[in-house]
Every structure is written in structure tokens, then in C-alpha cells.
Symmetry: D2
């Protein structure tokens, strides 16, 4: 695997590396870690990449690796959003599979372009909506699909963070609040898309309409840092999506609650090995990683016995494991693909539009078929 971005100071690059390699099916061997040749080599060194495979550009990497017998078969795109489309296009055109960080691109138009490219290329393509890799998220999805809750009536997904409540400082903050790099969405693009994907993934339903109230709360900020959305799903179910980066004290509080005709569930990312299940008779069950009652998806996504906590890196690794399966020609039904990526961009686009001038409820639009 080659990495695009993830150079010195990067947050998510090392996480991609660990996640990709955790199951020994993928190895990071090359990268275009920076457009500065020296910085790219320095970035590569942090991953124990040989200098000759730490390239100053993706183009250089694709060209050089093509000439190697052990050249890369896939890239992980871990650069800021505005680079995603270009990088993915170059890789796909070179016949290299792509695991792309979220959000898919900087704009919805770019996403539509990328969707066409992916469908045309017929190469493995994944989007790292990491949270869908947690075993108990997959268990939740399976239970909903099996009818444990009955018809879904209500979905509450929230994603509070507090790290941008003050003047944002540091590299991680800088690009996320800059429209030139992040695109038209701030918080909605950075974490809103995670919440959105989680909701659709577990509920097994697509959003068809929404209403949005986005704001740039911190003085001087251009992009939204606090988002309140109301949702309507295809079956008429109603929903709420809250995402915030100004909620002081919150770390990474992604939480999903789904309520159906005769059951409910509750999952929280900061305690990921637990899933609450509510029955209409008033019973409350705590499902835990390692439980004998878990279905195949959750079991397959676990590496340790019950009571030995797995976390974010393992969830992330589950996406890479799915991806490795795709590369081997297997199906990877749970791996977020280009459609999920596009839907995330549709969310950003719709939320920004709906919020502008208090536009009220707007249609979410259609995504292509397939995944």
C-alpha cells in the first residue's frame, strides 16, 4: 500500500498505517507523504519506509511503483479533502485501488465526478467511515435488519466534540476550518458525515429530506462548527442529527439511538464494546463484545475475547480487512463504498443549502445505485 498525505505532523496517517497492517494483509511500503521531497522522506522514515519509496508526489509514486515487481496495488488517501478527487483519479487511472478518507471530496460536484471514475474503473474503492467498523455497530445493523426493533420510527444520532470551541490551533484544526481545503462544510463535513453514515448504515434506511441549522459559532470562523439537522427517512421515520465541535468537554461522543415499533437500541462510541437493546416489554439487555449471542458480522470483526476492549484502531482495521477482501475478489458488503461516499457529500451539500436563509425542509436527492 502507498499513502497519500499523512506526512510529518499528520494525525490520521499513522492511524491508517496501523489499521491497514493490523491483520497482516496489507503493508505500507510507499508514500507521497508531502509535496516537499525532503519532508516526504522524513514522513516515510516515521513509518520505516525506505527513502526511495517516499515520493514527492502521487504521480511520481504511481509511475515508480508501476515499474517495480513489488509495486503497490492500492493507495490510502489521507490528505485534506480538496486533494481527494485528484488523488483518487490518478490512482484509479493507474489501475490502483483506493481507500479514501472522508469526506469523499471537497464538493458534491467532485463527488459525482469521482463516482463516475470509480464505476468506470471497476477497482476496489472504500471510504473510511471508521465507526461502521466497530463490532457492535455491525451487530446493531444486523439486529435491525433481522427485525429486532420492528419498523424503524426514529433515529437520533449525535456527534459532539469540543476541540474547536476555542481559537483553533495547530495543523489539524487549520485545514478543517479553511474552505479552500475543507470544502463548503466544516463540522458537517468533518464529523457530520460519520454520524450520517452510521445512522443510515445501522437503520438500513436512506434519508430523503432534511432541515438544517448550521452555524459558525466561534467568532471569525467561516465554516460551520455546530450543526443541528432534522431528518426524514425513506420509510417516513424521523430523525435528528447533531454534530458539534464547540461542545466544550466532549471528546468524540458519537452516539446512535434507533427506535422501532417494538424495540430500541443505543450505541456509544466511547464505550464501543457495549450495545444496549430495549424490548417493548420493558426489558433492557446489555450486549457486549464477545457475547455468545453475537451474529457473524460482529464475531468476524472481533480479535479478542469478551472483556478485552477493542477500540478505534481495531474498528478502522476492520475496514481495511474488508478492503483486502475486495482486492482478493471477495465481497465486502459492510465496507462503505463510493455510494456511501457520495451520500456523505450530498449531506454536506444539502445541509449547507438548507441552512442558508433558513430554507426549511429540502429534498435530499438521489444517489446512484450499487455501493
Amino acid at each position: 500500500m502507498g499513502m497519500v498525505g499523512g506526512g510529518p505532523g499528520a494525525l490520521i496517517g499513522p492511524i491508517h498505517r496501523i489499521a491497514a497492517e493490523l491483520d497482516r494483509e496489507i503493508v505500507l511500503v510507499a508514500g507521497a507523504f508531502s509535496s516537499d521531497a525532503k519532508r516526504s522522506i522524513a514522513g516515510g522514515a516515521a513509518y520505516a519506509i525506505e527513502p526511495e519509496r517516499a515520493y514527492p508526489s502521487l504521480a511520481a509514486m504511481l509511475t515508480a511503483e508501476r515499474g517495480r515487481e513489488d509495486g503497490i496495488e492500492m493507495v490510502a488517501i489521507a490528505s485534506p479533502n480538496h486533494h481527494h478527487l485528484g488523488a483518487a483519479r490518478a490512482a484509479l487511472e493507474a489501475g490502483v485501488a483506493v481507500m479514501c478518507d472522508k469526506p469523499l471530496t471537497a464538493t458534491l460536484d467532485e463527488a459525482r465526478d469521482l463516482e463516475r471514475l470509480v464505476r468506470a474503473a471497476g477497482l476496489p474503492f472504500g471510504v473510511t467511515y471508521t465507526y461502521s467498523g466497530y463490532p457492535l455497530v455491525r451487530e446493531a445493523r444486523a439486529r435491525v435488519a433481522a427485525g429486532a426493533l420492528g419498523a424503524i420510527r426514529k433515529v437520533v444520532v449525535e456527534y459532539p466534540q469540543g476541540w474547536l470551541a476555542g481559537k483553533a490551533e495547530g495543523k489539524q484544526a487549520a485545514w478543517r476550518i479553511d474552505p479552500a481545503m475543507a470544502g463548503s462544510g466544516g463540522c458537517i463535513a468533518d464529523i457530520g458525515v460519520h454520524a450520517f453514515h452510521l445512522a443510515e448504515f445501522v437503520a438500513g434506511l436512506k434519508v430523503t429530506r432534511l432541515l438544517a441549522d448550521l452555524a459558525a459559532v466561534v467568532p471569525g470562523r467561516v465554516l460551520d462548527d455546530d450543526c443541528q439537522l432534522l431528518l426524514r427517512f425513506e420509510n417516513g421515520a424521523r430523525g435528528v442529527l447533531l454534530a458539534s465541535q464547540i461542545s466544550v468537554g466532549e471528546r468524540n461522543g458519537l452516539r446512535l439511538r434507533v427506535y422501532g415499533e417494538h424495540g430500541g437500541l443505543d450505541w456509544q462510541q466511547e464505550q464501543p464494546n457495549r450495545l444496549w437493546l430495549y424490548r417493548a416489554d420493558g426489558g433492557t439487555e446489555l450486549i457486549q463484545a464477545g457475547d455468545a449471542s453475537l451474529g457473524a458480522d460482529a464475531v468476524a470483526a472481533s480479535r479478542t475475547p469478551g472483556g478485552h476492549p477493542e477500540g478505534y484502531l481495531e474498528a478502522f482495521a476492520n475496514l481495511y480487512r474488508d478492503f483486502a477482501g475486495l482486492v482478493r475478489g471477495e465481497k465486502a458488503l459492510l465496507l462503505p463504498g463510493i455510494e456511501a461516499g457520495v451520500r456523505g457529500m450530498m449531506l454536506i451539500d444539502a445541509a449547507v443549502r438548507a441552512s442558508r436563509d433558513e430554507a426549511g425542509w429540502i429534498d435530499f436527492g438521489q444517489s446512484g445505485s450499487g455501493s
Copy 2:
């Protein structure tokens, strides 16, 4: 004290009785527990009320008690919403103070009428927004007022329940889902007003605009049983209010989170003796009942040492204790009064209007001054 309603089969009547008497400042000695004379006597017997003081009507009670040396000085109105105005009017006209259950009345017009009556009468008047009686809610309010969070930016208040997710059965459900008795709001009137009052009470801010998405989810239901609201506060802060009675598995999950410029807080009704406080430096403090750091309001609202849980009845009793103070001529700054009652009705009215035809953001309107 005399009670209006709360007869055989009543849920809230016995709770009013316990709460009122807990501190020995008020005693339930009479009641118009039912319009059926026999049932009223039977209802009274459950409270150990002598048959002669279990009246078939409020009018009868007021008349008879006026003639007694030990006649009642106050009534607790615990009957369904559509009786509140009439009962309160009769009591006030008889010079009797009133503790009224929520929501204040069945309609906003009634609430305005009642407001005039209360102001004219100059008698003690309280509304049992019970949750504002919890010691740690009062602590939260005091900390916000003292600036612990800085300027408030965001308020998330939610109140999920699940008990009306199926076909509603029993007396408690019956009147709450009947517009003739409940008024124009269902869930928003039954529990939305609690959430709303809690938010304004702790944040120390008034809502000025809102947007609402109310639905009657259970087939055949006329009144809303699930509510999603977006809020705007007077200082520009943004908010969300969720109330639901179809969230299977939820008991009485009232929860309030408030985020400011440099702090946040989190309180949950089902663990009422705890208050989470977040600092901008990333620190998380758990404030507990009995802590040495508590302010005067929380201390005054506590009856046991730390670690000895107080609950709903004690919170309720704190409102009655405040009320007893009012009757003695003291101030009761924390007791919800007529203004808070009217604001609850404004919420119901605005939410129903805003939700109709997806009306978008609407102005909340002005409440009178004073409390």
C-alpha cells in the same frame, strides 16, 4: 392543603401528597378527588382524609373549608389539563393559593387568562415543573449564573420516554392522548414543557424562536407523541429540544447539556445526584450531591448526606417547600410561577403552529414580566 383530582387510580395525586407533606410544612386535609361523591370519599380515604372533607367538587370544598377554622389555605391541582383554568380561577377567587400541575392549562388563551387572574389575585401560585427541584439542577443553574461556562452557546435538552410506543392503555394514557382533555399538544404538553422549563431555568436564557417537527407516530393517534425542535435563545445561543413517548426502552430520560464559551455541563434525571462539569482545559469534574463545593441552593434542597440518593419525590417536595415559603411571605425565586407556566403554553402553541405545514422558524413571542 386541598387536592383537586388525584382520586382513585391517579398517578400524580399521591405524589403531590407525599411531596407536599415531606417537610411537614403542608398537610393534605381535604380534597375534591372526583366529581362522583362516593369516589371522592374513596379517593380521600386512600390519603386518610376524613369523609367530610372529601368533596364532590372544588366549589363545595372551597365553600365548606372557608367555614372551618382549620380550613385549607391552598390547593394542589392534579386533574387533567382542561380542568386547570377553572379550578385555579375558583381557588384564587376564594382567596386560596394554588399549586398547579403542568402544563398550566389546555390552551394558550386559557393560560393568558390564568396569568391575569394570578396577577390580579396576588396569591401564591406555583407550577410543578418537578425537575427544577433537584438539588443538582439548582446547582447547575447557579454555576451557569456565576459564569462557570462563560456565555452560553448551545443547549441540548432531551426527554425520551417509551411508554406510549404501543397502543396506549390505562387511565394515565387515555387523557393524555385525548385533545379534549390534554389540549392541542400531546407529548409536547406532557413532557416537552418540562424539558423546556429545565433548559430555560438552567441556562438562564429565554427562547425567542423555534422550529418544530411534531408527529403522531403511533397509528390512530391524534396528538403528537414525538417532538423534535430547534431553538434559538435570546442571546443567539442555539438549542435542540427532543421529546418523545415512542422511544421504546426509555423510561424518563430527561437530560440537559449546556455548553458555553469555556465550559459545559451535563445532567441526567435518572441519575439526578450527579452533575458533570467540563472545563475548557479538558478537565472533567463529577459534582455529586453532598459535595462540599455545592452552593447554597443545592444544599438547601438536600435532606441527606452525600451518597444517600435523593430522588423524584424529594425534588417535588422542594417545590412544595418553596411554596410553603411563599405562603409564609418569603420569596421563592426558584419556584416556577405563572410566567414559567405561561411560557410552557407558549411552547406548546408555537411548536404546534411551527410544525403545521412545516412552517419553518417562528417567533416564540413575549411573555409577561415577573414570575
Copy 3:
């Protein structure tokens, strides 16, 4: 009801008052609140007791009340341990029923004396092991009795507090650390007996042997403030009892875990409306107050719907309600009686003996039959 002790500055007196009166079956009308006549009147005033019924001694109270038509039928003994025997004897000899605070007496010999008096008197007698009054403790007991866990194998009961970790100050601390008033046990007598009763009550088993490690940790302290005990139950089950008043940061952390052949349970006093139930198949169920699955004892011990927390005062009130039933001639199978009181004293005695000179395992001894 008349109270013995509980005068100015008392902690537990007002709690007895609220608990006794909560269900309106008992009313506090008299008291010997202090041996100083003026203080007794002042103490009575805090409970709205008429001065003439605030007596300077129990003897005076018993004499005077016997002469009244509305004289007291019972006393609550809320004075320090060394007064219990004398007070209880005087009351019983006057034909007055007794609710006695724990521990039963100051010494085991006194307890044996009191046991004889109670059995001879044939009057209602209760001991306020408050925690057995919680609805979910009673549910736990019922489930164990019904075989939900199979044969019991292990019991872990712990009761950490931290309030005596420093130099003890104030009236509450003073008598508890003084052997002249508290008796031979400190922490073991003050809270160890609660933990012990809870364990036997829920497990439905009696302790037959124990090994103890008691210490006076805080410099200068005479009585134990930290206790570690190993237990053996009559069926061979093993157990641990930890009680501590020097565990800084702990409030009132009483917790009971019971494990059987095919199930386990966990209850924690600071979240008293929850009971965890573990099944041998790995399933985890959270039982909550108000649940439809609760048995008759838990339902009878609840006053509010699910999700409306009940707490310590309500648990305490359940003991008084049981007591009121006894007075009316009903059975009160769950109310701790003289046998439970004596067993608590046997615990203190055995623990102190076992701890002295590291005596190893010692027999717990036999208590009388009946309760």
C-alpha cells in the same frame, strides 16, 4: 410515634421522621430529643412537636404519653448505640413497640439481653437496616430465593466510605469513634452491619465462619475504621465483606454481588433503582425500578413509575411501612427484626475477636430462631 434522640444537630433523626411519616401511617408526635429539657423542646420544635410532648427523658415520655388518649404506640430509637438497650427495655416494658437504629446495641451481651426482652414482650420490634428497604434489593432477594442464580457460590459485599479519612470532626463523627458510645466496633459497627445484613438478606444464607482484618488506620483512632473480612456461609459458599471509612472519595458505596451456579447479580446503593442480572449463557440484563418483570415485593416497595428515581428516604420508609403493618397485626417478613439485630452484633463481636492477634478463622456462632 415518639423519638428517642434525634435532637438538635442530629443527622438520622430527621430521616427517621420523614421515613416514618412518608406513607401517612405513622406520625411523629412526641420525643425525648435530649436529656436537656430546653434542648429537647428545641429539638422537638424542628419537627413541629408541641413543647409539652418534647420530653427530657424517655421515662418522662413513656409516663406522660401513657396518660394521653392519643399517646404514642411506638418509639424510634435514634440515639447512639450505648443507649439502645436501656431505651428499648424501657419502651418494651411500657408496652410500646420499638423501631431501633443499628447496630442493635453497644455489645453482644446487651444484644442477647435485648433479644430476651423482645421475645418476652411480644411487641413489634424492628431494626433499621435501611438498605434492605430498596425495591431492587427486595427484587434481588426474591430472584435468589426463586433460584435465578442456582446454588449460591460467592458473595462480595463492600461498603466504602471516605468521610473519616481525616481527623474526624463534628458530632456525627465524635460518638462513632468513641468506644464509650459506639461500643467495641467502629466502622464494623457503623456500616459493616449494614453490609452484613444485606448479604444475608439477599443471599438467603447465614454466615457460619469468618476471618477478619480490622484496623484503626487514622493515627490516634481507637476503633476500627477499615475492615476486611472473609466469610463462609452455611451452604459452603464463600464471601468477602469490605467496609471502610477511610476510602477517600467514596460516599456511601454499598454494593452487593452474588454469584451462583448459573447466574449472578450486582446492586449498588448509589444507583439503587438498577439491578444487574447475569445469566450463565453470557447474557446481561438490567432490571430497573418500574419494570414489568418485577416481583410483588419490589412493586409493593415502589411509589413512583419507572424512571422517576426513588432513593434512600423511600427505602427507609419501606421499613416503617412494614413496621406499621406489624403494629396492625400483619406479617412483615422483610423487616429486619431482633434476630437480624443480634446477628449484626455477633458480626461485630466475631470480627473484633477474629482480628485481635490475627486469630484466623473463627466460628460465627448461633443466633436464636425466629426473627
Copy 4:
């Protein structure tokens, strides 16, 4: 790195592999996965090890690898306890560093032998007391060392599991309950040593005396499956160690509480990213992974930002990272070494002796100096 054991069906082998490789400093390239040549190759294949480096014995591996330029520098011993000494001896004699699973050996005599070998060899040696690798365990240790709690007075460490409550089935259970493979201790050897190391590691104190109550609860079991120990530390502090494998419903509930003169702390393995800190003034602070207040050890042991849970594999990887540092000639002060390994065996030996015939308190004995 080469692995000893961890072949087909192994639980802990794959965990060693992931942990060792997580930071890319160590790669598993060889193994003696089974004494059956075919099974060893099959075992190796599961780790993508070339057949030629999947050996039928450790001796074969050491010999062959010595002849390779890229031969292994270290082994991870992941076989049952009774193999540890022989394997470690062979490796050390071949000049190969050793990471050994716990408990160190099958008997204390073996441990003393191994201690001599390790000291003589002067090669890196580690013992995988995994839980000491958690960031917040290291934070706890640092805070205690810095005096945050004052002098330590009490340590409560517990490790309840339930997986051996029934008839033990499967390979994992089989060897653990067989004295020929496990040694003289069952539960005390399998998990008691973890709890013991955690307690000494965080408290910074050594146990000097103990009293033990070990039992084989499940009918037919020879080795203990439930352990209750009382402890005395070198400074006079008192402690309790509970370990159990018959506590139905418990997963892997390792928990440590430490109380000092003016503070307390609480850490639970199933929520490993949280550390509770209690102050003598009654304040309660929740320290979380990623907090700005964390010290250098905790920061160094973290790979993700706050709110992104790290778990058991990452904790395990922290030991391997420390080990890699040792191999590079750095110090690894937090990595459990031979002394910690021997102390674990002393615990087993002392607990078994103390429990036999209810021997009462016994001296724990001295361990060598250094680590």
C-alpha cells in the same frame, strides 16, 4: 521475532503477534508453533510465516535462525506455563532475548532458576503483565508516585471472570485447570498474578504478608478457581485481592482502587481510558485518555486523540514497544521484568501455602533486587 507456541487454536498467539507488530518495530518472522511439524507449518501460515521458518521445536528454530542473516533476535513465549522455563533457558542460552507470557513459570523453584538465568544472560527479558501497558494505568502509577494520594493506606484489586463457572470446555480452559501444565495455581496463576502486579505497579509498594482463601469451587476441579486474599504492604498499608473465574457474568473485570491519606483512585479494565481521581476535599475528577493533564508516560503510551478508544491490543503493544526499546539499549522502566515475574510466582506459592489448612497470615518473602 519468533514465537513459541501460539499455534492452531491458540488464543494468545495472535494477540502477541498483533501487539508486537503494532508499532512496526518488531515483526513476527518465525515460530515453533507446535511440536508437530505439520501443525507448526499450519500455525505459521495463519501468521503468513513461510513454511521454512515454522519449526517443529524451539531448538530447531534457534539453530536454524542463528544461521540466517535475518535471524530472529527475540522470542515470544506463548505456550502453557510448564514450558516457559525450558523455552526461556534455550533462548537465553542462544543469545536471544525473551518476552514471556505470565505466569513466569509453573513453579516458584523454576522461577528462581529462570531469574538466575536471566541475570546471568544480561539479555532483554519481559513478562506480559498486559494491563500495566494501559496509558491510564501508567498515569495512575505516576500520580501515586508524585504523591497525589499521599501515603497509601489501602489497595483493593479485584479480577472477576465467569468463564470457568461451568464445566470448562475447550483448549483454553483445558490446560489452565490441569496442574501438570498450569502448575500449582489455577485462577491465582492465570489472573491473580495480573491483579497482583497491577496493585504493586500502581501503588509503588511491595506486598510483605498475605492471607489466602483459595478454593476449587466447581465440582471435580483440582486447581483453585476462586481466590480471596488479604494483603499487607511494606509501608503497612492493607489490601485485598480478589480473583475469580466462577463469577458468572463477569468478563474481564480487573479493577484497582487505591486510597491514600488525601486522595483515592479507581481504574477499571473494561473502561480502560478512564481514571477516577478523588480528592480529600470531596472532589471527583475523571481523567481521560488524551487529556491535557496527562503525564509523559500516559502520553507516550497513546496512539490516538482523546475520545478514540484504545484497548487491550494497544496496551499489549506498549509492552512490546518497551521491549523494543530494551533491545535497542534503552531503558524500559515500566516493562515488567524478571523480578516482577518472580514476584508473581511468589504470590502463587504463598497463596497456595497460606490457603492450605487455613494457615493464616504468612510472610511473602523477599524477591531479588533490580527488575
